[in-house]
């Protein structure tokens, strides 16, 4: 049907002999709701580029990989789509995404060297670049400064090391008032892996090497927090958003989560909330942080790669506004325009420098599952940290050596 309409359009052009170019329509897939990113930028883009129209379709985040895989198999894929960071390799490794390296080299808008190393590695596969980050996010430690004061802690000196974090959690913990020291997420989904990896990376290890002493230290530390009820046992089943909800409600004194929480925190949290960098295992240890958010990519089969790239450039040019307008941290070295919550922004901006990508690997979901399964079996004491991580390592090796 699409093919036919193209022929008709071409024929009409021939007959009229008009020199004026027909507007090109790009099919766009996104996970945004109508009040988010792509929809908000659509009008601005179409005004700046009257010869390109955008046809946006929303796909649920959890369905994106499935739907996109099916669409590429049946030849109905969009021109441009959103892909979550760890999934880029899956599609790139199968040649389904357009290699942007040449276009990027010539682009006047996107400077490859400006993009932070973490986000850049998430769109890189086999030394070629397959996407442009639309923004980034990472995690940090939120804390309730009012509770710090009430318990005699200095709100200007948030915990910097794991020991300090434990001590603060212990001091802030107040079961009588239904207050836990810390809220985080060890849920059995990608989110659990997302929260765990930076801890592992700081302690020594990475997604491809989890059965380390550092890995055991992390799991034992998390286990201690939960066993001593400094964090709710429901940490095992709460997403990051749900966990942070308890922080907003005053049922947790600290929370580990990302900048996407801020709009809701601004509405719900009736206290002085602040943010600090993720604590490190000991003073002077290497920092690490998670890298979240997704990328805009062009499908290899797109009939309008040139126009699609113009769109990618336009979206990238909005990087200085993403914090205020969409709740992302810029994924590139740009100056944000008057960031809201400037102190918290500064924390996330610095965190971004330590943010590491998950993978990349085309079979990321299997690696991720091995990791969150180890977290869960250790925290529920079904096996000790060492055994759980060894089992995960075996599964990960199976994937990596496949």
């Amino acid at each position: 049907m699409k093919r036919i309409s193209h022929w008709i359009a071409a024929a009409a052009l021939l007959i009229s002999g008009a020199a004026q170019a027909e507007p090109v329509t790009l099919d766009i897939w996104t996970i945004d709701r109508p009040d988010q990113y792509m929809y908000l930028l659509k009008d601005e883009f179409e005004q700046a580029h009257p010869d390109i129209k955008l046809n946006i379709k929303t796909v649920q985040f959890r369905d994106m990989v499935n739907d996109l895989a099916r669409a590429t198999a049946t030849g109905e894929s969009p021109d441009v789509t959103y892909i979550d960071n760890p999934e880029v390799a899956l599609f790139a490794s199968r040649g389904l995404l357009l290699d942007l390296s040449a276009m990027l080299a010539e682009s006047k808008v996107i400077k490859k060297d400006d993009i932070f190393p973490g986000p850049l590695s998430s769109v890189t596969w086999d030394d070629k670049i397959y996407g442009v980050p639309r923004g980034a996010n990472t995690i940090a430690l939120y804390y309730n400064a009012d509770m710090f004061k009430a318990k005699g802690l200095d709100p200007d000196k948030p915990p910097r090391t794991w020991d300090e974090l434990y001590a603060a959690a212990k001091k802030l913990n107040d079961p009588a008032k239904n207050v836990y020291g810390l809220a985080f997420s060890a849920v059995a989904t990608e989110e659990g892996t997302f929260q765990f990896l930076p801890w592992l990376q700081m302690a020594g290890g990475d997604y491809n090497k989890v059965d380390t002493e550092g890995g055991e230290k992390v799991l034992n530390f998390w286990g201690k927090l939960i066993d001593e009820k400094l964090a709710s046992p429901d940490t095992l089943i709460r997403s990051q958003y749900d966990s942070t909800g308890t922080f907003n409600a005053g049922n947790a004194a600290m929370a580990i989560s990302g900048p996407w929480e801020l709009p809701r925190m601004g509405r719900e949290a009736k206290f002085d909330y602040r943010a600090a960098l993720l604590p490190v295992p000991r003073d002077g240890a290497t920092r690490a942080s998670a890298l979240g958010e997704g990328d805009n990519v062009i499908l290899a089969k797109s009939e309008h790669p040139k126009e699609a790239f113009i769109l990618l450039e336009f979206l990238y040019s909005k990087m200085p506004d993403v914090w205020n307008r969409f709740g992302f941290v810029p994924a590139a070295n740009v100056q944000s325009n008057n960031p809201n919550n400037p102190a918290i922004y500064a924390v996330f901006e610095e965190s971004m420098k330590y943010a590491r990508n998950r993978g990349p690997h085309p079979e990321w979901p299997k690696i991720s599952k091995a990791i969150y399964t180890a977290i869960q079996s250790s925290l529920t004491h079904q096996s000790d940290a060492k055994t759980a991580l060894a089992a995960a390592q075996k599964q990960i090796d199976g994937v990596l050596n496949d």
Partner: protein, 300 residues
């Protein structure tokens, strides 16, 4: 031509037409997916080959991979507990309520109707409500238990691996009771009153009447309810998705949810298919038992 039209309008052609429609429907919407699923369970399938038939056959390798997975035994045992406990309690409570509402008291029929409300609600909604009730830190159930002094400490229904499966089972029992009750009520209503009256005259007490009249005459209905219960319980996906997602640490994972996880979380579609084929085999056995039990249905 005329002959064909006549036989379709008024003759054996009409029967064949009706049969044909039903068959086409069954082939298209039942047989094809099942066979496709069986084929997938014998191949290596990922998301990108899902629309093509040209995929490498691997024989029964997927099945051996499934059983070699460390969680296979956990999932199997959980599934057995989930099905057996759900059915035992759904059936006994449902039967009890059916007998209760069989008694003649004002509003009995209305109250019985009200019980259906739970059955009407989508399992996802029921799951969301139970999730609030079960919540560890601020759940209603924990509040009631501690207020009554039954427990000192909060029970983390959904995050304690020793309890999570039972929390899901409790919610599933609640969800299944109305269905059991209504089906059994219908059966009870069809038992003639005079049989009971005659037995009563002969001096049979309530227990005796239940044992020697109600139970034998309800055989077919009980068989049907149990078989349908097994099938429905093995289909129960939404509730698990809403409550625990099989967690923590797979402590509440059951076969149907595992199959979904394999297919759509780690994209090992052939493994997911293998699990569902095994479930289909089991359901076929139960369905055969169900068909037998309905064949024995008799009139009085």
């Amino acid at each position: 031509m005329q002959g064909i039209i006549r036989t379709i309008r008024d003759g054996s052609g009409f029967d064949i037409l009706l049969l044909g429609l039903a068959l086409v429907y069954l082939v298209a919407f039942s047989a094809f997916p099942i066979i496709y699923n069986i084929i997938m369970s014998l191949q290596t399938v990922d998301m990108f080959t899902i629309t093509s038939f040209k995929r490498p056959f691997v024989g029964l390798e997927n099945y051996s991979t499934i059983f070699a997975q460390p969680i296979a035994a956990t999932v199997l045992w959980n599934t057995v507990q989930f099905v057996v406990l759900s059915i035992v309690f759904q059936l006994s409570i449902g039967f009890g309520l059916a007998l209760f509402f069989q008694q003649d008291f004002p509003g009995a029929t209305y109250l019985r109707g009200l019980f259906l409300a739970g059955w009407i609600m989508p399992a996802l909604v029921v799951g969301a409500i139970w999730k609030w009730l079960f919540a560890g830190d601020f759940g209603v159930i924990n509040y009631v238990l501690t207020a009554l002094g039954l427990t000192d400490d909060r029970i983390f229904w959904l995050s304690d691996p020793n309890v999570a499966l039972y929390a899901v089972i409790i919610a599933n029992i609640w969800l299944g009771i109305p269905f059991n009750m209504i089906l059994l009520s219908v059966g009870l209503a069809s038992i003639p009153r005079d049989v009971y009256e005659a037995a009563e005259l002969d001096g049979a007490g309530p227990l005796e009447r239940f044992r020697s009249i109600t139970l034998p005459l309800m055989r077919a209905q009980l068989g049907a309810v149990i078989s349908l219960g097994v099938i429905f319980t093995l289909q129960q996906f939404d509730l698990i998705a809403a409550l625990t997602q099989g967690g923590p640490a797979d402590s509440s994972n059951v076969a149907q949810y595992w199959s979904w996880q394999l297919s759509f979380q780690t994209y090992e579609i052939s493994l997911g298919s293998a699990v569902s084929v095994l479930m289909i085999l089991f359901v076929i056995i139960v369905a055969a038992a169900y068909v037998r039990s309905t064949r024995h249905e008799h009139s009085y």
